[in-house]
Subunit: 418 residues, 2 copies
């Protein structure tokens, strides 16, 4: 990716007083704060700080207030300043993010047990709070998401059978991959928790002959999904229900949730596990959770939580095992880490988003464009560098024994059943 | 499997006094203690207790002392009494074990946090203790293991590409599967912790062109493994080292451990993680742990710990994530549960063992034969019912990005490199 359309070189020295010794000291601090990443830092008057290695991009800070703000709370204020145009990036925004993530990756891990709890999100994802949070992000308007998602509006990590697949093909392949991992059989009942615009639910009903009850608390998404099921003639086999996962109480053969766990919050993992336990058929019941995760405990970036995904939290596998699977003795069958597939998905989204920046600016404003550009670019960098993970976990009742003998079938030709 | 060779119907009434009302009450208690499993229970005088469902086998208790002992500590004393011939099983020993595991599976889970710690093993696997424990099991004599293992003496779960594969083929396939999961490339350095009789180390060197440093504290196994590497002409590329995993300090591209974690003990998981961290190359380093595990916290059966595997403990995935992977931010790439493959492996072992019972009895004694028969049959039942799991976990340095794009290559034809 080249430099971004929105970037214009700053008018050097036009703003504020010339940088002082104090500002230069702050600038060196900022470089430390970025993990000594190979990034060139430039102040409002042209004063710069060069990294030892060849810089991958240049970061311009417009004024001292911004510099101090970023130093006081980098997690929150970098995004705030970037969105406001108080920080500009010259060069590749993804590469800059990658350089910083790589640099910070090698910082030590706090192994002090009490300090780990600091990593937990502080908010409580209550029913009401969740509805607000989900509305904040997913109800920005279907027209907006249509500008840069694939045709089927799948807003989760795609699966690229080969790296050159198109986004449309990779989202289709992801849905098939999930259906295969679930080992769906015609006539079975599926519950989906957090169904987005309904693409997976419709796909399962159309191609695998199952009946689906799909839950979502985003009103706009549910309305859209219902229309889609009607259009494709599967409305009799797919019910879209506007309700919270905590209220699901339906017997099913398979339970699936793609991209919802990030919004559940660790405090509610036991509640989610209890929902799965009360829904899942004995013996043959199985399920799949697909979610953004971490290698180690760390809260989601504060700016992302404030501006993009309120209430979101990517867990470690340990937290998911402890909260969701162990208490009900579910048997974990398969865990796959697809982080590089998510990096590629995000690259597709970012390219499409950049192509539609003008339209997005007309729908919202320039600050929104800049915020979402940073969110998409930062996310691509996070998955590419291993700062974030994408886990698919397949599980089953402890005594299920009619599953496939090996995983080889996941990689054979099309196996749709209906 | 039919009834076992060693069984002879008891001489009813020949032992002890006729059963009293008290004995009948104890008998009903024993049935409860077995989870009301469909097993017929018979006392020394022919008094019996029939389950509501058709019994899969009959269990004869020879005297009141045995009955009371099993009730007081079923975990320990069932095995003790069976090995001593104070309990006899008429019918299929595996089916009986399966029935009991299935029945107990549905008992509730203690969710009280403090009570969970009770599930942790109490012993400390110190260097000295580990050496003693490993000697107890693995130094029973290679001649003994040769009677019922495959030709290559692989004493861990095999991988059956199809369910009808022979044990020899399945062990060969398992070794290839592990090498593929490790994504081995010719010229790389591999460290193996706990190498058994050396089959995997030799396989990697012969077929994947890597050099291997393999560690084991069983003297008999190391001696045998060295001989094998000589015979097969790979002694220059495989070093077998008689030492504890805690002393490993070798830089490697891949770290592998198959069937050792069960002997490490949760208290030492951090130590094992630290060993892996200090060995594994930056960026491209990756590894695989293959181990018996659990869906939820529970100690290994007390009798198995006393008579078969001192110091052994099958962890949950959560414990492994918490102790070994999270502290060093290793990225979990793939978890696969192969428990049904272990049930099948054990069925092969048990059939061979039964065929060699006479020889085993000559090497040891009848009590040893009965103990090992129960251990193998009980283990098959435990994996078949989901009482135990077999996990293969593939992991890597957090920033590794030169791995295969999908898992499809694991299921393509032979891919050996040397």
């Amino acid at each position: 990716m080249g430099s971004f359309a929105g970037f214009e070189p700053l008018d050097r020295g036009a703003r504020g007083r010339p940088a002082q010794a104090f500002d230069r000291w702050l600038l060196a601090l900022l470089h430390k704060c970025l993990g000594d990443a190979p990034v060139r830092l430039v102040l409002w008057d042209g004063t710069d700080h060069l990294p030892p290695a060849h810089p991958v991009a240049t970061l311009h800070v417009r004024d001292r207030k911004t510099l101090v703000g970023v130093l006081l709370d980098p997690d929150l204020n970098f995004g705030e300043a970037y969105a406001a145009g108080r920080i500009e990036v010259q060069g590749d925004l993804v590469a800059l993010n990658q350089a910083v993530f790589r640099a910070l990756q090698h910082r030590g891990y706090t192994a002090v047990p009490w300090a780990r709890h600091l990593s937990l999100p502080l908010g409580r994802n209550t029913l009401r709070r969740s509805r607000h949070d989900i509305h904040h992000h997913y109800d920005l308007g279907n027209a907006f998401y249509r500008l840069w998602l694939d045709r089927q509006m799948v807003y989760t990590c795609a699966y690229f059978p080969d790296a050159a697949a198109t986004l449309e093909a990779a989202q289709e392949a992801k849905m098939d991959y999930v259906c295969r991992k679930l080992d769906l059989r015609a006539g079975e009942r599926v519950v989906e928790a957090g169904c987005g615009w309904g693409s997976l639910a419709v796909h399962m009903a159309r191609h695998y002959g199952v009946s689906v009850r799909a839950f979502n608390i985003s009103r706009e998404q549910v309305r859209y999904a219902r229309g889609r099921a009607e259009d494709l003639g599967v409305a009799d086999r797919v019910d879209f229900i506007e309700d919270d996962y905590r209220n699901i109480d339906e017997r099913c053969d398979a339970f699936v949730s793609v991209g919802m766990l990030e919004h559940v919050g660790p405090r509610n993992y036991r509640a989610l596990g209890a929902v799965i336990d009360r829904c899942l058929a004995p013996r043959r019941g199985r399920g799949l959770l697909h979610f953004i995760g971490r290698n180690r405990l760390r809260p989601l970036n504060a700016w992302i939580r404030k501006r993009i995904f309120p209430g979101a939290y990517p867990p470690t596998l340990r937290q998911v095992m402890e909260g969701i699977f162990e208490p009900w003795s579910f048997s974990v069958l398969d865990v796959e880490n697809l982080r590089l597939h998510y990096a590629r998905t995000l690259r597709h989204w970012l390219e499409r988003f950049e192509g539609a920046e003008g339209e997005v600016a007309r729908m919202f404003d320039e600050r929104f464009v800049r915020a979402w550009r940073l969110y998409l670019a930062g996310s691509e960098a996070a998955f590419a560098t291993g700062w974030l993970q994408l886990f698919q976990v397949t599980f089953a009742r402890a005594d299920r024994d009619d599953g496939p003998w090996t995983r080889a079938g996941l990689y054979e030709g099309p196996r749709r059943q209906a």
